[in-house]
């Protein structure tokens, strides 16, 4: 009796939650994906693929399936997972033409999967071949999609994975590419998407420069980071403070130190370091500072 009742209730729940369109199914799949319910997400992406009516919908379901393989297993992604992800990206790319806005996304993702696959490859020759394929895709991105968000994403991927040794030539090259990208941007105007990941590029270059002992570049790129727009309030506070400290203690740039101590005090007033910032600004500039007005 109880079993029947509970089964009926379960049936109600199931029928109530059934999705009836691609949008609903894809939304549920991404939701499960974001909850790290990879098996469920995979199943739902497959279902969504069957319901897809357009090329874009088909691509979305394919991207979901590939992401489950490439990112979903987090620390346990196998060579086979990457291989399968690459073939899914190929399937998606075969649906897209050159003008399609999703093409750079799939090119970038495929390149990333190939790069990871190359790292897992036991043979040097195979590894180099896979890396060469990835480089080929990145070249397409560089040549054909200069300011695209997915090219920006791929530039960061290349810098992050070039080498764990920040002094290594590959790492220096990859970070130089980030500098080149940022150098060509208008910090204030210009298309918003062109600058979408510029602040991250700047913070990465700053970190890379700092660990290589280049304090002038660290300050320069942290400043650029602040101009492009920090990703959160705590990150902004952190950048202001580091600029001021490095300028004061390493590059002996008193003007920059005072400016950023002041900004820290006025914009990050609730922060535990704000009084210190005020004191340092006053000592370095010889001027009294009024009360901070920001957070």
């Amino acid at each position: 009796m109880a079993a029947i009742a509970s089964s009926m209730l379960l049936l109600c729940f199931v029928s109530a939650s059934a999705a009836d369109s691609f949008e609903d199914m894809a939304a549920r799949a991404w939701s499960e994906y974001s909850f790290k319910e990879i098996d469920k997400a995979q199943r739902l992406f497959s279902e969504a693929g069957k319901m897809a009516r357009t090329k874009r919908e088909k691509c979305e379901s394919l991207a979901g399936l590939a992401f489950c393989l490439q990112f979903g297993k987090r620390n346990n992604v196998s060579r086979d997972d990457y291989r399968r992800a690459v073939s899914i990206y190929d399937e998606a790319l075969s649906l897209l033409d050159k003008t399609d806005d999703l093409r750079p996304f799939f090119l970038s993702m495929k390149a990333e999967a190939l790069m990871h696959l190359s790292k897992l490859s036991p043979q040097e020759s195979e590894s180099q071949e896979l890396l060469g394929k990835a480089a080929g895709l990145w070249r397409i991105l560089d040549d054909e999609y200069g300011a695209d968000v997915f090219r920006q994403d791929s530039l960061l991927t290349r810098a992050a994975h070039a080498s764990d040794d920040f002094k290594d030539e590959n790492s220096l090259k990859a970070h130089a590419a980030l500098k080149d990208y940022v150098a060509g941007l208008d910090k204030k105007d210009g298309a918003k998407n062109d600058r979408l990941l510029a602040s991250v590029m700047c913070s990465q270059v700053a970190e890379h420069s700092f660990l290589n002992g280049d304090f002038d570049a660290t300050v320069e790129y942290l400043k650029a980071y602040c101009e492009f727009g920090p990703t959160s309030f705590p990150m902004k506070a952190d950048a202001y403070f580091r600029i001021a400290r490095i300028a004061e203690l390493k590059t002996n740039d008193r003007k920059t130190a005072v400016e950023f101590y002041r900004r820290f005090y006025s914009e990050c007033n609730a922060n535990e370091k704000s009084f210190f910032a005020k004191t340092r600004a006053e000592e370095l500039s010889g001027e009294k500072i009024g009360s901070g007005g920001g957070r």
């Binding site: 994906y33 992050a160 970190e207 990703t231 580091r242 210190f276 920001g294």
Partner: protein, 693 residues
């Protein structure tokens, strides 16, 4: 045979009845869960449930009052408050969230915020970046993003791992010292709060001396009483002359909890300068890896004079704590203070109203209205009447008032110089509730004629609140003093909106309603906490809790929270602070045991970053996909905000290993010739070998 069949048939019927009851209850329970879960509507009303663990006095009333106002403006809505005890809170919330029966609003805390918020709570960043609609009639705030109307911009509720804000805080909290003004005045001669560390220790010393003097009197009395005992009283205790109980009064009520408040505060005042010196990446914080590098390179030692000074200072404090403070809990320490068994205690503004209410709920003491039929208006009148009666060898009749009722008591005073020696009572002229002052019994000797006559003393007392006195100018600690501690005025008592709430819009609306200047001020006035919204004023009693805006931050802490170093140091610190081991002994043991633990924690520190990196990349993948397949402008906008933040978070983890190579690489090669380095690398190398295998 037939009888056996009858019995079996009855058992079978009983079984069926039992099964039917079970099934009925089960279906009822399922229906109930479904009903609550299904719509959030009960009895035609939309129910918003709100869970928290704040059982302190006034909080529930404050929320109820706010809820009633909200309901009045929103007919058909009911706010139901679910207060849960602190001990069961995490478990209860977990069960409710997993079972999807959780309330709409949950106070954030006690559980793993990062994990739970990511899974079960709504990100609030987007709505927090827009003005609070309830501020529409406030010219100063109507165009200000909701998050910027809070004193800290809600920066404390931003979760970097999740790239968003998840809570809205109602109050702010700071920590202060509470003191029993009456006791301090009696022991130290003035109820003025100590302003310097020297003054604080002087007050503690005087309280200790006062307590010792009282106990010396008691011991002397008890010895005299023992002298009066006959031979038989040794075998028959009821024949013994009465003895007095020891007088319990400690300068500072404490427990591990209180030590955890004192230690960082005073350590920061003495060691914050070293934190800045050891900070390598110039972010103003000495992270664990930076500390390890400093230890390896010999830039800092456990014997660092600032560290030693801060240890000695805490040891000095612990001399004035109650015996066995390490084994009692926070509540017991609070009771000791409230009951007048300690002159001071440290705690946060969250305890202020509870302490004061509990103290004021205690007996006010017998007020003497008449002595032998004549009105007594001052303590002196009473003392004189007692002196005369003692001289004449007669009894004194008092008319006393206790809890509104009047009683008459007769006391036979002894001839003595003071009222205490004559009748065993101490009086003070006290005005309760703003009326005229009158003589009130503030102390009664437990073996006195007054006690025998049923006179009862005052248990309530005046409470003072003061900031941690500074070691500035202290003969020992003064030279290490860096400055007061800048207090983060971060918001607490924060609520998150549960993702699967049936009425998330209404839940959010309630949070917006609660955080206008007026409502936040009213809520906190009732709760007796500090408001979190800019412009909302705290009540007068809480003014001493206003955060210090000037000062330093951070302290020289040699342990990694939750790690092996924390465990080892904890095992050594408590015997040290309780006086079982000396400072030298404690430092020697740190030298012996902490390098190995530090190596373990450092290895875990780096490994943890490496292992979590794919997880951060996973987070990036979510926003990358949301950006690529956004269905509308709002979704694209959100992804545009989150994708860079996800990248930055990912790189923070991805860069940890290169950072390790840059910083630690040369040291792994060079092996600095220090005892710390030798012990550290012994363990570190073992991990490295194990990893290679």
């Amino acid at each position: 045979m037939k009888r056996k069949q009858n019995i079996e048939s009855r058992i079978s019927v009983f079984n069926l009845v039992g099964l039917a009851i079970l099934a009925f209850c089960y279906i009822g329970a399922l229906y109930n869960v479904y009903r609550i879960k299904g719509s959030g509507v009960v009895g035609g009303k939309k129910i918003i449930r709100l869970a928290h663990w704040q059982l302190e006095l006034g909080i529930r009333d404050a929320i109820s009052e706010l809820a009633r106002d909200f309901e009045a403006q929103n007919p058909g809505v009911e706010i139901v408050q679910i207060p849960i005890t602190e001990r069961a809170y995490a478990q209860w919330v977990t069960t409710q969230l997993i079972g999807r029966t959780a309330p709409d609003l949950i106070e954030l805390g006690m559980f793993n915020i990062v994990d739970y918020c990511g899974r079960y709570f709504m990100p609030l960043g987007e709505v927090l970046r827009k003005p609070n609609p309830y501020n529409a009639d406030n010219p100063e705030l109507k165009n200000v993003p909701w998050m910027d109307t809070f004193s800290d911009g809600l920066s404390g509720t931003y979760i970097p791992e999740l790239l968003d804000y998840y809570g809205v805080g109602f109050s702010r909290f700071t920590i202060r010292l509470f003191y029993n003004k009456d006791l301090v005045a009696k022991a130290a001669g003035s109820d003025r709060p100590p302003r310097t560390l020297d003054e604080l220790f002087a007050v503690c010393q005087k309280v200790r001396e006062y307590s010792d003097a009282r106990n010396a009197e008691i011991r002397k009395f008890n010895e005299e009483q023992a002298g009066k005992d006959g031979a038989m009283s040794k075998y028959l205790p009821f024949l013994r002359s009465p003895r007095k109980s020891p007088f319990v009064l400690d300068p500072i009520a404490s427990s591990r909890y209180q030590v955890s408040l004192f230690r960082p505060r005073y350590s920061s005042m003495l060691t914050a300068g070293r934190v800045l010196e050891l900070d390598r990446n110039f972010d103003g914080i000495t992270s664990f890896d930076e500390l390890v590098l400093a230890l390896l390179e010999g830039d800092v030692k456990y014997q660092d004079e600032h560290n030693v000074a801060s240890l000695e200072l805490m040891k000095e404090f612990s001399k004035y704590f109650n015996p066995g403070f390490m084994s009692i809990d926070r509540m017991d320490a609070g009771f000791a203070f409230v009951q007048g068994k300690a002159a001071m205690i440290t705690s946060g503004s969250w305890d202020a109203s509870s302490f004061i209410k509990k103290i004021n709920d205690q007996p006010a003491g017998d007020a003497v209205l008449e002595v032998d039929g004549a009105a007594a208006s001052t303590s002196r009148d009473v003392a004189e009447a007692f002196a005369k009666a003692a001289e004449g060898g007669r009894k004194v009749e008092l008319l006393i008032e206790r809890d509104g009722a009047r009683h008459r008591v007769k006391i036979s005073p002894r001839k003595a110089a003071t009222l205490w020696e004559s009748a065993g009572i101490e009086l003070a002229d006290i005005s309760d509730g703003g009326g005229a002052a009158r003589p009130v019994v503030v102390d009664v000797d437990e073996l006195s004629p007054a006690h025998a006559a049923g006179v009862r003393k005052r248990m309530r007392f005046d409470v003072g609140i003061f900031d941690f006195p500074l070691p500035k100018g202290h003969p020992v600690f003064g030279k290490y003093f860096v400055g007061n501690v800048k207090e983060m005025s971060g918001t607490g008592f924060s609520f998150g909106v549960v993702k699967f709430s049936d009425n998330p819009g209404l839940a959010l609306k309630f949070l917006q309603f609660a955080t206008t200047v007026r409502n936040n001020e009213r809520l906190n006035e009732r709760a007796q906490w500090i408001p979190s919204v800019k412009g909302a004023k705290p009540i007068k009693m809480l003014e001493p809790f206003e955060p210090n805006e000037e000062g330093c931050w951070g302290w020289l802490n040699f342990v990694q929270s939750g790690g092996r170093t924390a465990m080892v140091e904890g095992q050594l610190y408590w015997p040290f602070i309780s006086g079982e081991t000396s400072t030298e002994e404690y430092l020697r043991k740190l030298d012996e045991q902490l390098p190995e633990a530090t190596a373990t924690d450092y290895d875990n520190y780096v490994t943890n970053y490496i292992e979590k990196t794919p997880d951060k990349n996973y987070l990036r993948s979510i926003w990358l996909a949301k950006f690529a397949f956004a269905r509308d402008d709002a979704a694209r906008r959100e992804a545009s905000l989150k994708l860079p933040a996800a990248w930055e978070n990912y790189l923070l983890f991805k860069n940890a290993y290169p950072k390790h190579l840059v910083n630690m690489g040369p040291l792994i090669e060079a092996r600095p010739d220090t005892a710390f380095s030798r012990d550290f690398f012994k363990t570190y190398d073992a991990f490295a070998t194990k990893r290679k295998e």
